[in-house]
């Protein structure tokens, strides 16, 4: 059973032979039974295009990262954790590349992409989190509940440091403070002060300098924990290493975004994007680079033939502000209803991270990194966000926006409605806002969601017909 599962996840026969005992050990620790594996196999087949070798390989990389995480206690000297919104990825990558003793993971995200997406078994972890400092009923972020639950259930090793990123919200910093108090996890905070005026744009000196200092400290902390300095050469090597994946990934996402119909189901997009956002193992990154290259060629072929997950000419929506990282059913319902999802809002902000506008006068390495990060940060400027959405809608012939709000994300609540108001006024396209959850599917009802999506699909078809006749 596990062998079939691993085969479906793109493991090569020799990899299965090599990994099987570790996988079995990890699954046992995770409480994954044969029934779960069967259920996971069925979900993969239902939600993902398993005819695409690239997609299967991507799923396999997630599974391998999970196994490494669960067994990380064995033989590793230093364990460094971080989560999304990710910061300091270059430093973490540099540290990981330069020492066999360093292990890096984004534990809660790894669990979302595997235990959530594949096995649909996050509920007990979330429940355990809710019994601690992130109680139910108050609108706490479910990613933080998962993080707390992982520690409460002793699913992951404690780690030598957890990098807590407050670049979007305050809650993460507060929740991670409790990791220190209740689980003894050493936490390093990375802050940002969201005091930018709307008209100030994306490059504000005080913000860049403040964040540069935060990044510098983050780098120093990584060096302190791993016990060696991160040199400029190491940083260059880390960036080049990450580009092995990020360059072809951008090509894939662009191909999907411009094609009609999109040749790739949007269920795979979060899994593809997050592999780039985070820092994963050296082996994982190399495998991801290979997988994404395979996927590009497979998709190119499909695109040329006009084959996609929905018929050509189907209404096209932008999925904001991000699609669920643990539940593919939401996007799957959209596609089942005949709606193409060629792009998610988060992708619009990848640009800054890859090709930042260089600001004259900035020489300092950390300031350059801070500037690049802030140009690619979602939620950083409402005006920029609205402009980017409108430009992308025009460029990609978007017929409507499906705005799935992670209900606990305080910075995005009011922002969502202002975006809707502004985009609707300027483009006149249907814009549906739904209160959802990015990591916990228990928050929403599947049937209510289906009804909403079917109604939205009808609106889109009417609007699409009107616009194209």
């Amino acid at each position: 059973m596990i062998t079939d599962f691993l085969n479906l996840c793109g493991f090569k026969p020799e990899e299965i032979e090599e990994e099987l005992s570790r996988v079995e050990e990890a699954f046992e620790l995770l409480g994954l039974t044969a029934q779960d594996v069967e259920h996971g196999t069925e979900r993969i087949t239902r939600f993902f295009q398993t005819d695409l070798k690239g997609v299967r390989r991507i799923l396999g990389i997630w599974v391998r990262e999970l196994i490494d995480l669960v067994l990380a206690k064995k033989g590793r000297k230093k364990i460094l954790y971080a989560s999304i919104p990710a910061v300091g990825v270059d430093y973490l990558t540099a540290a990981m590349l330069n020492s066999e003793d360093v292990y890096i993971a984004f534990p809660d995200v790894f669990f979302c992409g595997t235990i959530g997406v594949i096995f649909d078994k996050l509920a007990p972890i979330i429940d355990a989190g809710q019994e601690s400092y992130v109680a139910p009923g108050v609108g706490h972020c479910s990613l933080l509940q998962i993080r707390a639950g992982l520690y409460a259930l002793n699913r992951i090793p404690k780690g030598d440091v957890f990098f807590s990123s407050g670049t979007i919200c305050d809650e993460v910093l507060k929740a991670d403070e409790m990791l220190e108090y209740f689980f003894g996890v050493p936490v390093h905070y990375v802050n940002l002060c969201h005091d930018k005026e709307w008209e100030e744009g994306t490059n504000v000196e005080r913000e860049t300098k403040f964040f540069a200092e935060q990044l510098k400290r983050c780098e120093e902390k990584v060096a302190q924990v791993v016990g060696f300095e991160l040199t400029d050469d190491m940083m260059r090597e880390a960036r080049e290493f990450k580009r092995k994946y990020s360059r072809p990934m951008r090509k894939v996402l662009e191909l999907v975004a411009i094609s009609d119909p999109p040749p790739l189901s949007a269920t795979a997009i979060p899994l593809i994007r997050e592999l780039n956002t985070m820092c994963i193992s050296k082996r994982g990154t190399e495998a991801a680079a290979e997988a994404i290259d395979i996927l590009y060629h497979e998709l190119e072929h499909k695109a040329r033939q006009g084959i996609g997950v929905v018929p050509k000419g189907s209404p096209r929506v932008m999925h904001g502000y991000f699609s669920s990282l643990s539940d593919p059913t939401v996007v799957h319902l959209l596609e089942e209803a005949g709606i193409a999802v060629p792009v998610t809002e988060l992708q619009l902000f990848d640009g800054g991270r890859f090709t930042p506008v260089l600001i004259e006068g900035i020489q300092d390495r950390h300031e350059l990194q801070a500037s690049a990060y802030l140009q690619g940060a979602v939620g950083n400027s409402l005006v920029t966000e609205i402009r980017s959405i409108i430009e992308a809608c025009k460029r990609l012939n978007i017929d409507g926006i499906f705005w799935w709000i992670h209900h606990a994300c305080r910075p995005m609540l009011a922002q969502s409605l202002m975006i809707r108001d502004s985009v609707t006024k300027q483009l006149g396209i249907p814009f549906m806002v739904l209160e959802g959850d990015g990591y916990d599917r228990q928050f929403y009802s599947f049937e209510a969601l289906r009804t909403n999506i079917e109604a939205f699909a009808e609106m889109l078809r009417t609007s699409h017909r009107t616009r194209h006749t």
């Binding site: 992130v134 409790m178 002060c193 005091d195 209900h407 969502s416």
Partner: protein, 387 residues
């Protein structure tokens, strides 16, 4: 008391007075509470500072509902709702809103103001690092930007002489509030916390010179009062949480009704506001930053704040001989909610009873609050008898 009556009369006329000042060219600077906006800078420029702190009214929350989603706290919704409803005259007098970037809720309310009211918003950066040099430096930069913006708005330069005068005035006002507050250490407090909080709220709207004079008179009058005969068994409580809005007095009233008494309030419109004064310093902006960011009790949205505020509260518990702690927060206030778990664990270890209450400013919650408060007070009474 004569002085308190005079103060309420004055407040009834205060909006009209401000309108007159506006007609004569004065600018009105509204700001959100939390005690991160140094009013001294606004006052020194000749502008009228008003801390917008109304809350508790479900209609104001409802009015703002269509602009945001349910998981934003009721207080932050009310800040836009009050403007939309046009009930509270102060909200309509504002020429510019200074929004300290504290929690995500008020940060987004600042955006909503800018989007829906057309009133200019100035975002005052408050770094989450209250204890570091980097945080302090950033905050000094923030208040320097505020000073420049206010100077442009009013056309008046805020020089050191004027700023020093304003600092002295506000120090005096906070000192008077603190002295009145400390009177509640007595076993028979001469002022109730509901009345004391009303004084705090009044200080956010009144002219500080007038308020300082009033507080001096009130302090004298309270000092001359007979101590109220209080039942020895009356549980003495400390109220803590994010804030108590002007108008949101239900918990205070329910405690009195249930036979308890609140003797201290560790909230932004209470102890956090008047406990610390600005120390003299060569650089006045640094001195302000030292008071407004570094030395004050940190709010829950600050990094690593729980332990420091817990110690601060435990000192109050000892000083005011508190029998139990009431944690009062707004529903969906995520950072305080997380800290409440920490506080209840730590308080439990020290044997201090704590009751956590939440509000969304809805009338339907009243009976639940009443029952829970009554039960809590009964439990404390029994503990007192047993010990």
């Amino acid at each position: 008391m004569k002085s308190i009556d005079r103060l309420w009369q004055y407040l009834a006329n205060r909006p009209a007075q401000i309108r007159e000042l506006k007609d004569k060219g004065a600018k009105v600077v509204g700001f959100f509470p939390g005690d991160y906006v140094p009013e001294e800078i606004i006052h020194a420029s000749g502008a009228v500072p008003i801390c917008l702190t109304h809350g508790g009214d479900p209609m104001a929350v409802l009015a703002a509902q269509s602009t945001t989603m349910r998981f934003q706290c009721a207080f932050s919704k009310a800040q836009l709702g009050e403007w939309l409803l046009k009930q509270q005259p102060y909200y309509k007098l504002v020429d510019i809103l200074v929004a300290p970037i504290t929690c995500a809720h008020l940060r987004k309310t600042a955006d909503l103001w800018q989007y829906y009211t057309g009133i200019e918003v100035f975002r005052l950066g408050v770094p989450k690092e209250y204890a570091s040099e980097l945080g302090l430096e950033y905050y000094v930069g923030s208040i320097r930007r505020l000073k420049q913006r206010i100077e442009t708005l009013t056309g008046n330069k805020v020089d050191d002489k004027e700023l020093s005068k304003s600092i002295r005035l506000y120090n005096q006002m906070r000192q008077s509030l603190k002295e009145i507050s400390l009177m509640r250490k007595s076993s028979q407090p001469r002022i109730s916390t509901a009345d004391f909080l009303r004084l705090n709220h009044a200080s956010f709207y009144a002219d500080p010179s007038f308020m300082t004079d009033m507080l001096a008179s009130i302090r004298e009058e309270i000092g001359g009062r007979q101590e109220e005969a209080v039942d020895r068994e009356t549980p003495r409580l400390l109220l803590t949480g994010p804030n108590i809005a002007c108008g949101d007095y239900k918990v205070l009233e329910l405690v009195e009704e249930a036979g308890g008494t609140i003797v201290a309030e560790e909230v932004c419109e209470g102890v956090r506001y008047y406990w610390e004064n600005v120390h003299s310093n060569d650089d006045l902006l640094t001195a302000l930053a030292d008071r407004y960011l570094k030395r004050r009790a940190p709010c829950a949205f600050m990094n690593a704040s729980a332990e420091k505020r817990f110690d601060f509260i435990m000192n109050l518990v000892r000083e005011f001989r508190v029998d139990g702690v009431l944690w009062y927060q707004l529903l969906y206030c995520e950072t305080y909610d997380i800290e409440s778990y920490y506080f209840s664990k730590r308080m439990g270890e020290l044997g201090v009873p704590m009751l956590k209450l939440q509000s969304d400013y809805q009338p339907t919650e009243l009976e639940t609050l009443r029952t829970r408060i009554q039960a809590f007070i009964e439990v404390i009474r029994r503990r007192g008898r047993q010990s």
